[in-house]
């Protein structure tokens, strides 16, 4: 029984059930909208967690990849005549490709240096989208054409709830598979001791790159969904603050915890809704919460809760 419960695929089943049942308890479209936003953010955080929580490599520039996905579905259909669904795929490939090319040199850096390099990458992408006004609408942004699938115009919070929910379930399934494979073990090995991983035959540079490319792809899909849902894209999608938000979500939920990515995203999406009272001080409150968490629950919410439950039942 214990062995069956330990199978991580239960996480996928559990999440699927939550996604299916949740709408029954959501009183208005406002909440459906918020839930869809949680799913979309969780998707990006999930990818980032593969990179940070499992492979142990920091990225402070993930909003850059989020932005690539976002602008792909805006620019593709508007300027290039590529259908939205194809633009989404092209955006994902582009983000993965940029991660592949840029990742090679910068993943040689460690710790703070890698953080600063990824930060620079994110800022670079943000600068390109706000400066190329003719294509991207510059700082004012541009409208995003609706997704059309087989002649069906996809819009509305409920539709996007289902699309993003389903995608998140698939995203979690893929992440669980990866973590349980030899690739996942290589990621975690690199996190704990690069030297030992190398001596055991793990091509460290290649696995770091794999994690970076995968996480960029996750972020790009999330970015596309985010602006398709909104119907509008601005350079804000790739801003530094959003990169930080992703990192905060990953750390809050728990680095190295797949479920934690979703919890972290949920908290950070829900909190501002609750904190509207503080409106102008929202980021101060978020910062304060972050500091408190890092001091008292440095492992993050989900791992801390798991340890607590294990102690109670043991």
């Amino acid at each position: 029984m214990r062995q069956i419960l330990k199978n991580p695929l239960w996480l996928v089943v559990g999440l699927a059930i939550i996604v299916v049942v949740l709408p029954l308890f959501l009183p208005s479209t406002y909440y459906v909208r918020v839930a869809a936003l949680v799913f979309i953010n969780a998707l990006a955080v999930l990818g980032l967690n593969l990179l940070m929580g499992f492979a142990g490599q920091v990225s402070l520039g993930h909003a850059g990849f989020f932005g690539i996905g976002a602008y792909a579905v805006a620019v593709g259909p508007t300027h290039l005549g590529i259908p939205t669904w194809a633009s989404l795929i092209c955006g994902t490939i582009l983000a993965a490709f940029i991660a592949f090319v840029v990742g090679r040199p910068i993943l040689k850096l460690r710790g703070y240096y890698l953080a600063v390099a990824t930060l620079g990458l994110g800022m670079l992408i943000a600068m390109i989208v706000s400066n190329e006004g003719a294509i991207t609408g510059g700082p004012n942004g541009m409208p995003v054409p609706r997704l059309v699938l087989f002649g069906w115009r996809v819009f509305g919070p409920m539709t996007w709830y289902w699309i993003s929910g389903l995608t998140l379930v698939i995203g979690v399934w893929v992440a669980v598979n990866l973590v349980e494979s030899s690739t996942g073990r290589a990621f975690r090995a690199i996190h704990d001791s690069e030297t030992a991983a190398r001596v055991l035959g793990v091509n460290v540079a290649r696995y770091k790159l794999t994690a970076f490319v995968l996480s960029a792809a996750y972020a790009s899909v999330a970015g596309s969904y985010f602006v398709l849902f909104d119907g509008f894209v601005t350079p804000d999608t790739s801003s530094f603050l959003r990169s930080i938000e992703f990192v905060v979500m990953a750390v809050l939920g728990g680095l190295g915890s797949i479920f934690g990515s979703i919890v972290g995203a949920a908290i950070l999406v829900l909190l501002p809704q609750v904190l509207t009272v503080f409106h102008d001080y929202e980021h101060i409150v978020l910062g304060a919460i972050m500091i408190v968490f890092l001091i008292f629950l440095p492992a993050g919410l989900v791992p801390a809760a798991a340890t607590f439950i294990r102690r109670r039942t043991a």
Partner: protein, 262 residues
């Protein structure tokens, strides 16, 4: 032909010549010890042989192939693995997962297949786990397989590192102070583990401070002092060599060595 040959190996850090023209050869199934006082360059030598440092001069030949400038993961592929004096355990993984990482090179490494868990991936995971369990049994850690590696006592971690290195199926295994910090009982366990490894046809090269262990199990001993070779020979030769006694064993040490059982 020897399985591992080191020829005139040398490295300098700034002005400090850490290893200066060391040459030795290790045969199959042999237990070969490298000893020397602190700072003699033993670990530096290991770091060069395992590809962590690039030597300034000399050659390393593994099973007939010149591997001098190859990175560690390429050396692992060619059959060389090692353990570390300052333990390099994957602390966040379970004991058995640590060993499973060592199976990396023997697994299919297709990331796309991993993403969608094709049935073959599942079967492979089972095979890897079974092999890892076998190796844990060899070093006497079978009972602790599912424990987090970080929770193990020191002596057990030393054996875990050996099991993990063995998982790569090496031809040559470098052990950097496998008994450091271990009590006499744990040292004895490591002693028998090393003998079992050599009996399987794997060459063991070890750096060790525990004289009794070295004298007891080594076929040949290579003595370093200040980066240079002092002498090489059997335990008996080394013990009788006055230069070794002067440089390394000193007063008390030589007495200890004389009393050591063969």
């Amino acid at each position: 032909m020897s399985i591992l040959a080191v020829e005139d190996l040398g490295i300098a850090f700034g002005g400090l010549i850490a290893v200066d023209g060391v040459t030795f050869a290790v045969e199959q199934s042999e237990i070969f010890a490298v000893i020397g006082p602190n700072g003699a360059g033993k670990t530096t030598l290991f770091n060069m042989v395992s590809g962590l440092y690039v030597p300034n001069r000399g050659r390393i030949v593994l099973d007939g192939e010149d591997v001098t400038n190859l990175p560690p993961h390429e050396l692992a592929r060619r059959g060389l693995s090692r353990t570390f004096q300052n333990l390099q355990i994957f602390f966040r993984m379970s004991v058995i997962e640590n060993v499973m990482v060592g199976r990396h090179l023997h697994e299919k490494r297709n990331v796309l297949a991993h993403l969608f868990t094709l049935p073959s991936v599942h079967a492979q995971n089972m095979a890897t786990r079974a092999k890892a369990a076998e190796l844990l049994a060899l070093v006497g850690l079978a009972d602790l397989a599912e424990r987090p590696a970080g929770s193990l006592p020191y002596g057990a971690l030393r054996r875990l590192e050996i099991a993990r290195a063995l998982a790569t199926e090496p031809k040559v295994l470098l052990l950097d102070e496998p008994a450091a910090g271990c009590n006499p009982v744990e040292t004895e366990e490591i002693d028998s583990v090393i003998k079992r490894i050599a009996a399987q046809g794997i060459s063991v090269v070890l750096v060790e401070h525990d004289m009794r262990l070295v004298m007891r199990i080594s076929n040949r001993i290579h003595v370093l002092d200040r980066g240079r070779t002092l002498t090489e020979g059997t335990a008996r030769d080394v013990r009788a060599n006055p230069a070794v006694i002067a440089a390394y064993l000193g007063g008390l040490g030589s007495q200890e060595a004389t009393h050591a059982r063969n």
